[in-house]
Subunit: 216 residues, 2 copies
Amino acid sequence: MPKLSQEVVEEKKDHIEQAAKKLFIKHGFHGTSIRQIASQAGVSLGNLYNYYKTKEEILESLISRYESIITERFNDVFSQIEEPLLPENFVKLGKLLQGVVEDHSEFWLLMYIDVLEFDNQHCRKFFQGLAKKFGQRFDKHFYKLKKQKLLNEEVDPAVGFTVAYLQFLNYFLIEKLFGGNHHLGLDNDEAVLKLTELFCRGLLCPEALEENLFHN
Amino acid sequence: MPKLSQEVVEEKKDHIEQAAKKLFIKHGFHGTSIRQIASQAGVSLGNLYNYYKTKEEILESLISRYESIITERFNDVFSQIEEPLLPENFVKLGKLLQGVVEDHSEFWLLMYIDVLEFDNQHCRKFFQGLAKKFGQRFDKHFYKLKKQKLLNEEVDPAVGFTVAYLQFLNYFLIEKLFGGNHHLGLDNDEAVLKLTELFCRGLLCPEALEENLFHN
DNA sequence: TTATAAAAAACAGTCGTTCGTTTTTGTATG
DNA sequence: CATACAAAAACGAACGACTGTTTTTTATAA
């Protein structure tokens, strides 16, 4: 039998890893056996070891494959948002991130596996220098707003955007994976609107922020 | 041998569960064996089954025990904050929650185990009706501010406070468990200050929010 | 002595991995 | 065009260690 082409190998690995993913996110890494993976993928036990040296390598390959998908998806999201600090674009961001979580909540489950069993070795890059990355991506937009003095000078817009991004993700993850059940007491659309309002305007009126007004 | 008193039993269970916790958060539920737990606790394998019917019961007991500790700790935090929407109290909240995460990050690891392997059955109450709970706890404070018209009327103060609470927790969890490594590009104290600023004032200047100003 | 706790041994499976074998298939040969 | 060959892929039995749980035995203290 001739050697399989690189793409065919990748296809087969992808097929195996889809099966593995299904089991890992349901029973965890140690809760899933190689036999189950093989069976789920319709492949023999021994043959798995032609593609992966160890069980852990399956998880690693799966995560890095998924990471590309997620990264691409996020790039797609951000490419739809040119001016991220417009209120209407916060709303748009929220809804797009809702879609990401709904389509790929498994990715975060894999991340929790990684956190638990591998000290988040494989997924930590996801958070490294997050604000800096956004700062670079939306460089010109942030600079323009800054120059126009439309921003609260106390907060770096990159930090603000990162916070909003994380908050949206977190909100939908709590809803999807943690059983939040409308934990803010709002439906999802309202939540996105209220979060947007909060990020843009803040919680307090300008008058309240003159400290003396608060202390009476 | 006479029957052990209820408190002695609870002490022994606590001791066993401390050992179990150590192992569970390191290797996950299925990655930890009963023998390891017994050995770590300095108890015989068979004797464990005098205290728990199954391995899962150890985790359940551990989680519910930890839940009480965490709940108490949170109550302690909130009792230190009478007027949660004062900017200086946001800062205080942030620092207190930093302490909670630093002291009890294991609780969240257990929660991720619960999410992964038990659909968050045991921990989901943590998020249920969160905003409502805060709304009730800080009832009078929120009402007072509302009456004084110091609040952004677009956002329920309970929702705003819940969001801030979750954001602080999430920030420190990312730092502690997910390898964030100053993901906002700030040290922790700065991050608390900037988050506070963001929650109170928002990201945009009042002038920016008149939409026409934005679209030129 | 007796009820109970603790320990040890036994049980029936399952685990990740290895390995010898069989099947498959493109290529080279006649 | 048919055959033989060889390399690769697929398979599944076997290995030794380990699994959660049950049962049996021993130690302990009123």
